[in-house]
Symmetry: none
DNA sequence: GATGAATGAGCATTCATTCAT
DNA sequence: CATGAATGAATGCTCATTCAT
């Protein structure tokens, strides 16, 4: 019998990375079941009772591991965020020129969203909540860590005349804005085709948008 | 003494349009003061007591006009959404060719967000809530009404060979994705320059991204 | 049929004074039934559910009138404290010389405790809690208002040579310490005779303790 | 280097007496650190987690030694109570006539409170809790053991005509009431001078209050 | 004896909504 | 139409206690 494929086993991998070791089983269970809870009703509207029932853990265990409901959401957010960062880093570090960086970035992004749609939807939903909560600084650090190397390489290309002379703070929106917008639409059920199906077109449009 | 200008009087205009007549004064007061309440803490976390205190209206009046809290949020959402639609329609209907449509659409969008940042932030925040609530169909109708004419003209240009052969469901993301992404960043305090300052660059990049 | 006598009707009078008017009925009901709840288990251990059940009011009404559990305790404390102050003031203001003041003070005190034992027990129990809570300043003001006139008259007598040369901060303890100590013992069930039965002896001992 | 003096080393002595031997080190640590925990927030509001953190012992150790939280409070109470009893007994047993007994009793009492204010505050706070709990009988026995010899000697003096004809149950209040009242006020921060400073005045007033 | 992760009953408090005036 | 006191279900969270290691 073959192992299950697709988003479930991929999700398990994300939670394993977030709570490694045999000890992390109950913590993992909470994280895994919190995802549908939060996605179904929003972080605020989801109740600890929801999390408890679906995860099969006790209230005390949830509070033992995460402190409070926001703590569960933050842990889930960073588990997803970090996995996404790894996926992007792996692909963008393997290539050299600016165009390839843009293509790999956009492609890695839409592939990740396509592979883990529930987690992607949660990241969109939880981002502002996390940014304004007690882990806001942690988020900003990790955003910096994710995008700084990429920004540096693109800035280099601007100096080399390969990219248009664009304000640095505008580039991220031009590169990932289209992909992000399409992904939001797809996750909300307003678009049919998987984002990965348009990876090439989105990457090409992004590159044309910023190239000299 | 001249009247105050800028976002406050512009907001008043939005609320006047949403609740015309002398009778609409209390309704207007609730809408106007609900905006900071919802933006400060989120729709779910804002309380009727917050709305009551800031608006100076009674609990009964709020329920009389809006039915419930979600009703206030929906009314505020559509007031903002409709104003944005009017702004876009006014500018895009005045031009003929595809490139001009794209430029006017992007420009109208970022200008509107720049002029009414609180309302824009609320629209981003409330969109999913409204889409999943009892007014979801109304939202889908109005989205259709807003974008159908524009989509039609762009689709025409695709057939005329002026635009790249792109899937119809991808075009909106390519056209407005960059602007939307930058606006989100600006509203969240992660970007410095007003979106309107980059209207030209965003419009140009959008056009290059989809042109043949 | 004659009216009921003794502590119950006397208590009702206290609560009437604390929440006058027809409007105050539900507030009064909460106060009246909070007394046995707090006395039975302590303020901390008494639950809102206890108060709700015994008073027959809703949770919302309790919070509407008192804000929180500590608010109920504080309101009850001041209702009792103020009644006790009135009882003391009435009797001490009616006499002239120092010995009579001491006698009336001690007598009024033990009579009040004997007449309202439940309330007296609560005052002993709640005093430190109130003093350390948000109403601590209010308590200190009212203590000052109660004892300042009496202290002034005793200090006058010290100057006149009728009283021993005693430190001002020691006098209250010498005057009321014995009565207070006996009352505590009686309220705790460690003493048999009602404090009022020893009013004369306690007053006489107090006067001998401080007289020149 | 000389040993530290004053209330800390005196407290250590109390805890050593309560938990002698090498085995009693962890028990002693819990008792010593429970005192500030209970004083800061009250017995009910202090948590096992507070005790655990401050004492550096494990939850299991606390339960091993004391059974439950009330057990810690009771053990601490009796450690203090017994030390106070020893201090009183040592001084009152050394004298013969009634006046000397009263003077030594009052003096021993205020000296003890002055030397161990934290413990004294705790005794006032915990007394009712202990009296109503499962150790109530133990407390009543020890109170009897402490005061019976003293009461007997004073009763003898009443018969000898040295003391006023006073009800037996009133005498303890007349003797210690003033001292107790002043000590409570000092411990609560409402009085400036240490009780020991007024030992003579308090003892004299007590004696005058009860002497024939 | 010692440990501390896990438990879950129990609590204070909030807040959308109603409805008598 | 307008009001705001009253309601009580629902929720996040705490914490004493247990027990497997």
């Amino acid at each position: 019998m073959s192992k299950p494929r697709g988003s479930t086993s991929r999700l398990n991998q994300v939670f394993k990375l977030a709570s490694p070791g045999e000890r992390g089983a109950s913590r993992r269970a909470v994280l895994a079941h919190a995802l549908p809870c939060f996605n179904a009703r929003g972080i605020e509207a989801a109740t600890i009772e929801d999390l408890r029932q679906r995860s099969g853990q006790s209230v005390g265990t949830i509070y033992h591991h995460f402190g409070n409901k926001e703590g569960v959401a933050a842990a889930l957010f960073f588990a997803g965020f970090d996995d996404q960062s790894r996926a992007i880093a792996t692909r963008t570090e393997a290539v050299a020129d600016a165009q390839a960086v843009v293509v790999e970035l956009v492609t890695a992004y839409v592939d990740w969203v396509t592979a883990l749609p529930e987690l992607a939807a949660f990241l969109f939903m939880a981002r502002e909540t996390v940014a304004q909560g007690p882990h806001g600084d942690a988020l900003r650090e990790r955003l910096e860590a994710r995008y700084a190397p990429i920004d540096a390489r693109l800035a280099e290309s601007v100096r080399a005349g390969l990219l248009a002379e664009l304000p640095a703070e505008l580039i991220p929106a031009l590169v990932l804005g289209g992909a992000e917008s399409y992904c939001r639409g797809w996750l909300a059920g307003r678009r049919e085709a998987k984002p990965a199906a348009y990876a090439g077109l989105l990457a090409e449009a992004a590159w044309r948008g910023i190239s000299a």
